[in-house]
């Protein structure tokens, strides 16, 4: 079946989702980025590549991840049936590794000898360090000084895996600045280095490529929910940093017009406080990190610092496909504050015995609020995209508990 105005056909050949996306990088990087695109196009439908990737997905990452009926939360909220897509059970504890596995296989195919990455929460850094150890490639991870402090367990994990962590102390000392620094490394070591970007952002083809590698989440959900419920879900929910886990869940269903989708940005101390990371709710279109997309910025076009308790959402931009889905109103974008996320975090621990990462806790916080608007025969699938081991120190501090 072909759908005329399919959301799934984007981006166009120039890397645009409507007016968002594109390729805004230094000229030095252009030939290389064009080569990444060419090579990615070659392997993306290649049977041998897919088999290789699927094999690692199954035997190394542990896919498919289960779809779990969260019965006690469902009962407590008294609304729709709530399922968690349990990508937090993946090897390394988040969805990030789905993408890293795809990209490192591509890097290998391209004969690259050195891997770089940026990381916020450290989940992408850990996943990149992991696949680098697996394939014997040197790995350098750029991480903001502020994030190194608040995600220390992941910093140590990366070190154990043999990665070199480079602390970034410019600007907001978090994810945005780590990405600047990774881009500076890339332009300096352009010939031998592959940059594994951790979210569905950056210059084309990254937003599409990362989304494609994450789309396995939604593909599995379709099969799993049909088996469990004999019908498709009514609502999909996910949190948004750059937007890769959300697109991973949503993309498969974008053309199923009856399915509602809600993505949750980080509202930090509240949108009205100005201290938040909700690029769509509080930003406007601009150009940063290789793409045109919604950004938090001043009247003069200087990029603002974001704020979120969750290092993985603490980014003043969002992947370009989300900017498009926002303007098309295909996906609804809501937000949750730091405080609401912490409450949802504890709620999930207590009711389901799952310690969620702070990132998906944002999605759960909104789900808690809106569940009452859905009747009991409705089905919701929320992406539990990461586990909370990395966040226990942050939570302890917020709760004034000394470890």
């Amino acid at each position: 079946m072909t759908i005329k105005n399919s959301f799934k056909k984007l981006p166009d050949e120039k890397g645009y989702f409507g007016s968002f996306g594109g390729r805004y990088v230094s000229e030095t990087l252009m030939p290389l980025i064009l080569e990444v695109e060419k090579e990615y196009e070659k392997i993306k439908n290649d049977k041998i590549f897919k088999e290789e990737l699927n094999n690692y997905m199954e035997t190394y990452i542990g896919r498919p991840s289960p779809l779990f009926f969260a019965e006690r939360i469902t009962k407590d909220l008294g609304g729709p049936k709530i399922y968690f897509k349990r990508d937090e059970l993946n090897h390394t504890g988040a969805h990030k590794i789905n993408n890293c596995m795809g990209q490192i296989l591509l890097a290998k195919k391209m004969g690259k000898k050195r891997i770089i990455a940026e990381t916020g929460a450290g989940q992408h850094g850990v996943a990149t360090a992991t696949v680098c150890a697996l394939f014997g490639l040197p790995c350098i991870v750029y991480m903001g000084e502020k994030d190194i402090k608040r995600q220390s367990p992941n910093v140590f994990r990366m070190k154990l895996l043999g990665a070199e962590i480079r602390s970034v102390n410019t600007g907001s000392k978090s994810l945005k600045d780590a990405m600047n620094e990774a881009l500076r490394d890339w332009v300096t070591n352009v010939i031998d280095t592959f940059y594994i970007i951790g979210t569905a952002a950056g210059p084309h083809p990254y937003p599409a490529m990362v989304r494609d590698f994450q789309s396995i989440i939604g593909e599995e959900v379709r099969e799993q929910i049909l088996k469990a419920e004999k019908k498709l879900p009514d609502l999909l929910m996910a949190c948004i940093g750059g937007g890769s886990n959300a697109l991973g869940l949503f993309h498969e269903f974008l053309d199923d017009k009856q399915i509602e989708m809600i993505a949750v940005e980080a509202a930090g101390h509240g949108i009205e406080s100005g201290n938040h990371a909700a690029s769509l709710s509080g930003g406007k279109p601009g150009i940063l990190h290789g793409n045109k997309t919604y950004l938090l910025q001043s009247n003069d076009g200087q990029i603002d610092e974001a704020h979120s308790i969750s290092a993985g959402l603490d980014y003043p931009g969002i992947g370009p496909e989300h900017s498009y889905l926002f303007e098309q109103k295909r996906v609804r974008y809501m937000s949750a504050t730091d405080k609401e996320a912490i409450e949802a975090f504890q709620y999930c621990c207590n009711l389901e015995g799952i310690i969620p990462a702070l990132e998906p806790s944002h999605a759960l916080a909104v789900l808690k609020k809106i569940a009452k608007n859905y009747s009991k025969d409705k089905i919701v699938v929320m992406n539990m995209c990461g586990r909370g081991d990395k966040d226990i120190f942050t939570i302890a501090e917020e709760l004034n508990i000394k470890l």
Binding site: Y24, E27, N180, I287, D300
Partner: protein, 264 residues
């Protein structure tokens, strides 16, 4: 093509180009610095539009952006600097250098008009390549402002064609793969690359990134049509932040010395 750029390259001697960030360390001092530079016979001035996330710049120019923004510089102030320079010197080509978000945010059309009114001759937008520059190109061309294209060590023959198509003013050869203010150029490689580019274009070729001192200027201006010195001047600003008179004197001395390195 900008009249001033054409005029400048009609003269035979090699061109010395400087880069400083507009508004660094503040608007007044920035203007004094530009005056000093112009008095020393610099041929073209590049003025950086400060940006919060200058991903093509090394620490030196990053910090100059931070200083400029912290002192309150807005993009309109940069255009005002150009206005003021024009009152003193109506011949020297002025190039604005920066990142596309500053322009996109103001509106491409509005930015181009303001540039024309102020007397800007060219634009170097670090993160805007031929694939994405058609909108700015169109607005700039209407106003005889050149969109200066960058060529780099990773540019192959195929890519060179894309870059040269629609190129005007002059070409900017980025001498190293990397960010500003870091590695120095390898003179032999550089010479070869510039010779190769010359066989495909009539446009003047100016070399920039990693050119630090008089010696670099001497060596590279033998075969390039011009050389750009940026981070070394910005470093003088940084090292003399609490003595602005000394800052100006040092920049005066340094640029005089650079000028002596330029080949006739």
């Amino acid at each position: 093509m900008s009249y001033r750029i054409r005029k400048t390259f009609e003269k035979k001697e090699k061109k010395l180009v400087t880069f400083t960030t507009g508004g660094d360390p503040d608007l007044d001092t920035s203007l004094k610095i530009l005056n000093t530079i112009m008095n020393n016979g610099i041929d073209i001035i590049e003025i950086g539009m400060p940006f919060s996330d200058p991903m093509a710049d090394g620490p030196t120019i990053q910090e100059s952006s931070v200083r400029s923004i912290a002192s309150g510089t807005k993009i309109n102030d940069i255009l005002e600097i150009v206005n003021k320079v024009r009152k003193i010197n109506n011949e020297i080509p002025i190039i604005l250098m920066g990142y596309y978000n500053s322009i996109f945010n103001m509106g491409v059309k509005s930015f181009a008009s303001k540039c024309a009114d102020a007397g800007v001759d060219g634009l170097i937008i670090v993160d805007l390549q031929p694939e994405e520059d058609s909108e700015l190109y169109k607005e700039a061309k209407e106003k005889n402002i050149d969109l200066i294209r960058l060529i780099t060590p990773t540019t192959d023959e195929e890519r060179l064609k894309t870059i040269l198509h629609n190129a005007s003013g002059f070409l900017y050869y980025v001498t190293v793969t990397g960010i500003t203010g870091q590695n120095s150029a390898n003179v032999e490689h550089l010479k070869k690359s510039i010779m190769t580019i010359r066989s495909s274009t009539e446009l003047p070729i100016v070399a920039g990134f990693g050119i630090k001192n008089r010696r670099d200027v001497e060596q590279i201006s033998i075969f390039a049509d011009g050389v750009v010195v940026g981070s070394s001047i910005v470093n003088i600003i940084k090292n003399n932040l609490n003595n602005k008179n000394k800052m100006i004197t040092e920049i005066d001395k340094f640029t005089k010395d650079l000028k002596k390195g330029v080949k006739e």
